[in-house]
Point group: D2
C-alpha cells in the first residue's frame, strides 16, 4: 500500500482556531526545534520508535524515518483568536515557556498574527473576546473562514493545509436534528440555528474545502452525522476529540493495568487544580459538563462492567476540576483509586501528577497535524480512529465502541502504520523463539 | 492445536516450597472460594476475560471458560516450610486475612501440614528455621524432596502435580560453572557445591520428575542452563522469576505509558515499607541485592535507552526496601518519577500504593499453577515466556531480551491462549470497520 | 481558685441532639472504655499530660489527675434523633466501629434510645427524618425539649446534665434581628420565625435550664447575642463551634508552623472525600456553604495578612468536600500548599490524611462535655474561649478576634487549667536554667 | 533590661566555614535584598512579627523593629572553603538560584573569595578538597584561623564578627576525654588528637577570640564541655546544632500537633531524596549516622514516651536519606505517619514536601548570625537555648532536656526577646477578656 501515499512535498500549513497556551506552545516549540534550540519531546511522530519484524531483527526505527511525514521545516503556522495578540504576546501571557526561550524566537513569533475569530459567548461564558468576525448569518461566517483558509494557503504558497481545534471547551449540548444531514446543517447555518456552535463552523469550513480537521476539545464539533457524511464526500480525514493529557492520560494508562490483572475497582476520585484560561472556562458548570462527560466515559469502556460485574459493576467515579490561579498552566492532578484483590481485600492507589498542560498538549497538536496530513495523502477519508491514541473521547464509526485503553490504541496506531507501509502486523505471540514449537508457527 | 491439549481430569496437586504469608493466603483463598465464602479477585485465569474475533462480535468469555484449566475444586495443597506450623497457624501468624474468615475454614487449613524444608542459612541470614531436613549431601536432599513429591501424589490420589516456589529470597550470586550442564550440576549436588542453593534443589527435584516448576522469588533457581536443559529432556514446562506485585507491577504499567507517549525520564525513585517476613529477610543487604537486581532491570528493558538516548539515556533509577513493622503485610510503596516533555520541560509523577503484598501474590500463585499445568498437558516444555505477565524478571530463551511491558506481556499471553485454541490472533488494526478501506484489508 | 470548684459528685448526663456516627462512636467508646475493652485515645482530658512548674521538676500529670473532672463511670447517655434506631442499630449502620466490638456492648447500646427530634427540612435538605416532634410553634418545641431534659435527669437520678450538638450541619444564614436580644428571640420562637433553626431551639432549651451547651457543627446556634446574653443570666457556660477534626485540624497545625518561620503562602487547596451521612448533607450547596465559611476563616486568622502583606497578602484558599461513598466514614483529605521562601523561591507541601471522621470527633465530644461541666462547677458562665482548642470556628467575646493556632489554643487551655488550680502559668522563657542570668529572673 | 544592650553600630562580619550551596545562597540573598532585588522571606528576624501586650492592643511589630539587630546593609561576608571558587562561581555551581539573579550581583559575589579551609578527609570521606591549610599541628591550624579572623576584621574595618558553620556533616563519634576540659582540649590540639575534628578547630578559634559561634551541621562541634567552659570564660554566646529545615522542620510542626490532641503514634517513616553536595556527603554511612542521630532524637523529646507509654511507648521511627541527583538542591521528603485515635483505631498521614534545602537554610544563617550578635551585645554568654527554634538538635545546659516542639521553641524565643526589651511575657490565658473573671486576673 505504501506506493499509494503521495509524498510530503512543498509546505504544510497548520491552522489552529484558538491561539492560547496550547497553540502558542506548539508553534513556539516547532520554531525552536527548527532552530536547534529544543527537542520535540513527547511527539511520537518525531521521537517515537516503532518495532518492525521479529524481536531478534532489532529493527526499531523512528516513526518519522519510517512513514513519509511532512518535515518540520516545511510547516507554516496560522490561526484565529478572540484576542488580537500576536503569538509572542500570547505566549508571554500564557507563561508556559521561559521568557528567555521566547525571546530567542521573538521575531518569528511576532510574525504570526491571528485572524479574527468566530465567537459566540453563549458557548463560552467566562471569556469575552474583542477580535471577532461579524456576518449576516452563520453560513456567512463559515464562508469568511473558508476565505481565510484559501488566502492563507495562497499567501504562503502552501501545498497542503490542516486544521486542529485548539480553542476553548464549549458548553454541553447533544446532537439534534440540525446535525443529522448535510442539508439540515447547511440550512441551519443559513438560519443561524442556535445549535450550531463556532467550532462546528470552523469544522464545516475545513471539511468543505477538503482540509483535514482534528478536534482537541471535548465539544461536539465534527462528530455529528452531517460532518462525517461531508468528510466522505470531500475525501477529508477527520479525528476527535479532546487532547488526552494529564489526568486522563494517566487514567488510560493505569486502568488497563488494573483490568489486565483482574483487580476490582470500587471507586475512582479524580481532582485537578489549574490556573490557566482553560481552568477559567471550566469554572463555569455548563462548560465543565462537556469536559466531565468526556472524562467520565473513559473508565466505562476500559473496564466493561457488563462483562465483569463482580469486578467493575459498582465503581463510583467522580471527576472534579478546580480553578486555582497559583499554579497557572502547571495543572496538577490527584487521584484516589480504591481497588480490591484476592478475596475482596481492599487496597488504594494515590497518584499525584505535577504536570504542565500545554507541554503535554503541544506535541499532540503536532502529531495529529502530521498524521492527518499523512492520512489525506494516503486517501484515507472520514473518521481516523487510529488517532484515538491522542484523544480522550475517540470518535468512531457509528455503533462501534471506542477503545480507550492507551496500549490498544498504540497498537492500533502502530499496526496502521505498519499496514500502510506493507510491514507485518505484530501480535507479540513469539512462540517461534522456542525451538519445540517452531514447526507449528507461520 | 486445541485438540492436542489433554483434558484436566482428576486432581491437581500444588506444592509450595515456603508456606508463609503468600502460600497460606493462596491456599486459604482457594478453600474459601470453593466454599463460596470469597471470590478469586485478581486471578486472571478465573476472573479475566479474553476478547475473541472482531470487536463487533462481542465475544469476550472468561479465560477459564475458554481454555481447559484444572477446576479449583480439584486442587490439593501441600508444601515444605522451616517452621512446623500448620497452615491455619501460619496464616494466623501472617495476619494477612481476617481471623473471622480463617476461623470458618480452620479445619481445612489445619489439615495442611508442611513437610520438613531443605534449608541453608548461608542463603537467608535473617531466618532461623527449626523444621529442616538433614541429608548426607545435596543430592540426598534432592532425593528426599522427590520422595516427598511422589508420596504426596500417591497419598492424595493425584493425577498431576505442579510446584511453585513461595519461599524467601536467597542471597545474590551469579551462575557459574556448576550451573552450566546437567552433568556438572548433578556432580555438584553430590559434592555439596556451595553454589547450589536450596531453591535449586527443589527445582531439580521437580523437573527431574517432570513436575512443572514456577519460581516466585528473584533467586537464581531454574534459570540456569543445567535446569533448562533438564526441563527439555523431561518435557517439563518451567517459568520464572519473582512474582510481579506492588511497586514493580505499577512500574510495568506506568513506564510503557510514558514510553508510548515518547515522554522522557530523568529519574525514578522507588521506596517501599513493609513489615512481614519478606521485609525482614530483605533487611539483609545480600538478600536485598537479589531483589534489587530483579527490580532494576525492569525499566532498562521497557525504555530501551540505546534506541532512545535523548529520552531515556540518562535515567537515575533507585529502589529501596525498608523493613517497617507497623505496616505488617500491608506493603506500601512511594514512587517519584521525574519526566520531561515538549522542549524538555520537567514534570513529576508521585505514586503512593497502599497495597497488600500477599493479596496481590496469591492469585499469581494460582494462575501460574493452573497455566503451567495447562502447558504440560499441551506438551509445551522448557521456558514458558508467555507467563512473563506474572513475573518481575521473566526468564527467556538465551539471547532473547525479556519483555517487561505488562501490556505486551498480556497480549503475548492472550495470543498464546488464542493460538492454543485455534482462534485468530488480535492486532487491533481495525481498519476494516471503516467502509472506504474495506477492500484493502484481508 | 481551686477551692471554689465544686466536686464532680453524682452522675453526669450527656445529651446529644443527633445520634449518628459521631455520637454513637462517642457513646460506644465510653462504654467500651468503662468495661476495659478500649482506651480513650485522642481524649486530652483522659490521656493528655500537663506540665506543671519548672522543666526540671518533672511534674507532668495526666489532666484528669490534675483537675476535678467527672469520672467516666458516672456518665449517662441520652439524646434525640430523626430516626428511631437505638444506639446499637445506629452504630452498626454508621460502620465506624467493628461489629465485633459493638457486639460485646450490645446490651448497653440497645438501652440507649433517642427521643424524638426537633427537625425542619428547610435547614437540611438531603435528610428526611421520620422520628420527629410536632408542636404548635417553636416555643412549644423548645418546651418539649426542656421537658425531655428534666425527665431524663430525674429518670436517671443525675446530679448534672450537659448538652453537645452532634447533629448535621444546617444551611447557611447570617444572624438577624430576631437573634439580637432574648426578648426578640423568645418572641420569634412563639411566632415560628423562619430564622430560628432546630439547633437554636435545643440551645435555647439547654441554656434556659442552665445546662451547659457546646456546638459541634458550624451552624449559627449559640453564637447569637440573644443566647450569649441568656447564658450569662442563667450562669451557663457555652462553647462553639464545629468540632476541629481532619483537614482543619491539620491546617491549624501546619499553618502556625509556616507562620512561625515567616514562610510565605500563595495558595492552599484543600479537598476531602467522605461517604458518611455528613458527606451526604454537605453535598447540598447551602449546607456546604455553612461548612465552607467555617473552614475558610482559619487561615485568615493565623496568617494575619494585614500584618504580613508580603507573606500572606495574596493567598488563594479553596476548600472542597466531595461525597464519595466508597470511603464511608473514612474521610480522606488532600491538601496542596504553595509556599515561598528566601528571595521568593517556591516550594510545595502535599498532605494526604487518611483519617476517620468520627474517631477524631468522639473524644472531642467527651472532652467538651467534661470541661464544660467543670466550667459550670467553677462558676464560669458565658463563652468558654479556652475550649477553642477543639473547635473550627471558636466563639469569642464580641470584637475579639478568634485564635485558630492550635498551639496557642492549647496553651490557653492549659494555662486556664493551671490558673483554675492555682499553679504558675508557663511562659517557656527558661533563661533561669543558664547560670549567668539567674539573678535577673524571678 | 533593654538599656543594657549595646547598639548595633558599625559593620558586622559574618564568617562561614563552608561556602557551598547554603552559604552562597545566604550571601547572594542578602546582597540581592540590599539592592532591592529580593525579599528576606523565611527570615523571622526580618519578616516575622511579635505580638506585644494584650490581644486587643493590636501591637504586632516586626521583630527587627522591636530589638536592636544589625542592619543588613552593615553586613560583610567572608569564609573558608575546600575549593577556591569565588562565591559567584560556587553559587552557579550549586544551581540553587537563577542564573539571571546571580548575574545581576555578579561583581559583589566575585569579590567574596574563600580563605583556605582546615580539612581532614577522615571526617568527610566523599569530598576531596584542593584548597586546604597545612600546619604543624591542630593548634597551629587553630591559630591560622584566628589570624584569618583578625585580618578579616581589620581589613574590612568591622565592629564585630560572628561565625556560623555552614560546612559538611562530619562522621559520627562521641565526646571523649579530650573534649572534657579546656586544658585537655588545648593539649589535644597540640598533640593532633584524632578526636578533634576540623569543625572543632574553627569553633575553638572563634570562641577563644570571643567571636559568637553557631553550628549549622549535626557534628559534635561546640557542644563539648571544653568549649562550653571556654565560651563562659571568654563571654561568648554559642548555639547549635544542625539547621532545622525540610523534613525535620515539618516533623517538629506535626508531632506537637498530634501530641496536643493525645493521638497515639505507632510508626513514623521518613525518607528524603536530594542531589546536592550534602546528599553526596550523606551517602557515606558514617556521615549519615551523625545526621540520623540528630534527626531521630526529635520525636523522643516531643512525645515523651515515658510519660505516655500507651500513646507513644512503641513508635517505630525510621529516617532515610537517598542521594538522587535528578533533584539537585530540591530536596524532597516523604513521610508516612501511622497514628491511632479513639479506641485504638488507626489512621495515616502522608506528607510530601517538595522543598529547597538551601532556600530554607539561608534565612536561618542570617537569623542565627543576627541574634547571636544581639546576644553578645546583651552580655549573654554560653549556650543560647532560646535559638533552638532554628536547630534540629538544640544544645542545652547539661542535664536539661532539649525542647524540640517548634511552638514551644518559638514562645521561648519570643518571650526571651520580650524579656530583653522589658515587655510582659505572654501566656495566652486571656480570661480577662471575659467580664466575669476580670477581678481575679492581674
Amino acid at each position: 500500500m505504501s506506493q499509494q501515499i503521495r509524498k510530503a512535498e512543498g509546505k504544510l500549513g497548520i491552522l489552529t482556531p484558538g491561539m492560547g497556551a496550547v497553540a502558542t506552545t506548539f508553534m513556539a516549540g516547532v520554531i525552536a526545534i527548527n532552530k536547534g534550540l529544543a527537542k520535540p519531546i513527547g511527539s511520537v511522530s518525531q521521537m517515537g520508535n516503532i518495532r518492525l519484524g521479529k524481536r531478534t531483527e532489532n529493527r526499531n526505527p523512528l516513526i518519522k524515518d519510517f512513514v513519509p511525514l511532512a518535515n518540520l521545516q516545511d510547516i507554516v503556522f496560522g490561526g484565529w483568536d478572540l484576542y488580537e495578540d500576536n503569538v509572542y504576546q500570547a505566549a508571554m501571557h500564557a507563561k508556559v515557556l521561559d521568557a528567555n526561550m521566547l525571546f530567542q524566537i521573538k521575531a518569528e513569533l511576532e510574525a504570526i498574527r491571528p485572524m479574527k475569530a468566530v465567537f459566540d459567548r453563549t458557548f463560552v461564558k467566562n471569556l469575552d473576546g474583542t477580535y471577532i468576525k461579524t456576518g449576516t448569518d452563520k453560513m456567512d461566517l463559515a464562508k469568511q473562514v473558508m476565505n481565510d483558509i484559501e488566502n492563507f494557503k495562497e499567501a504562503n504558497d502552501l501545498d497542503r493545509v490542516v486544521m486542529v481545534w485548539c480553542g476553548s471547551t464549549e458548553i454541553y449540548f447533544e446532537a439534534s436534528e440540525v446535525h443529522n444531514t448535510i442539508e439540515a446543517f447547511e440550512q441551519g447555518l443559513k438560519d443561524n440555528d442556535p445549535n450550531i456552535s463556532p467550532s462546528m463552523i470552523y469544522a464545516y469550513a475545513a471539511i468543505k474545502l477538503g482540509v483535514p480537521f482534528a478536534n482537541g476539545a471535548p465539544n461536539l464539533t465534527c462528530d455529528i452525522p452531517a460532518l462525517v457524511e461531508l468528510s466522505k464526500q470531500t475525501s477529508t480525514p477527520i479525528a476527535g476529540k479532546d487532547f488526552k493529557t494529564g489526568q486522563t492520560l494517566m487514567k488510560t494508562i493505569l486502568a488497563p493495568g488494573l483490568y489486565a490483572r483482574a483487580l476490582g475497582v470500587s471507586g475512582w476520585f479524580s481532582t485537578n487544580i489549574l490556573g490557566n484560561r482553560d481552568g477559567l472556562v471550566l469554572d463555569d458548570p455548563d462548560n465543565f459538563k462537556t469536559k466531565e462527560v468526556s472524562k467520565l466515559g473513559v473508565l466505562e469502556d476500559i473496564f466493561k462492567p457488563e462483562d465483569n460485574p463482580e469486578l467493575y459493576g459498582d465503581i463510583y467515579h467522580k471527576v472534579r476540576i478546580n480553578y486555582y490561579p497559583p499554579h497557572g498552566d502547571n495543572k496538577e492532578s490527584w487521584d484516589n483509586i480504591d481497588i480490591f484483590g484476592w478475596m475482596g481485600y481492599q487496597m488504594q492507589i494515590k497518584v499525584n501528577f505535577l504536570c504542565r498542560d500545554s507541554i503535554l498538549a503541544a506535541p499532540i497538536v503536532l502529531d495529529l497535524a502530521l498524521f492527518i496530513d499523512l492520512a489525506k495523502r494516503a486517501d484515507m477519508s472520514g473518521i481516523q480512529e487510529w488517532l484515538s491514541f491522542y484523544l480522550k473521547s475517540p470518535q468512531t464509526a457509528e455503533g462501534l465502541r471506542p477503545e480507550h485503553d492507551i496500549f490498544k490504541q498504540l497498537i492500533k496506531m502502530q499496526n496502521t502504520l505498519r499496514h500502510l507501509m506493507g510491514e507485518d502486523l505484530i501480535t507479540h505471540l513469539g512462540l517461534d523463539y522456542y525451538q519445540e514449537l517452531v514447526d507449528e508457527i507461520l
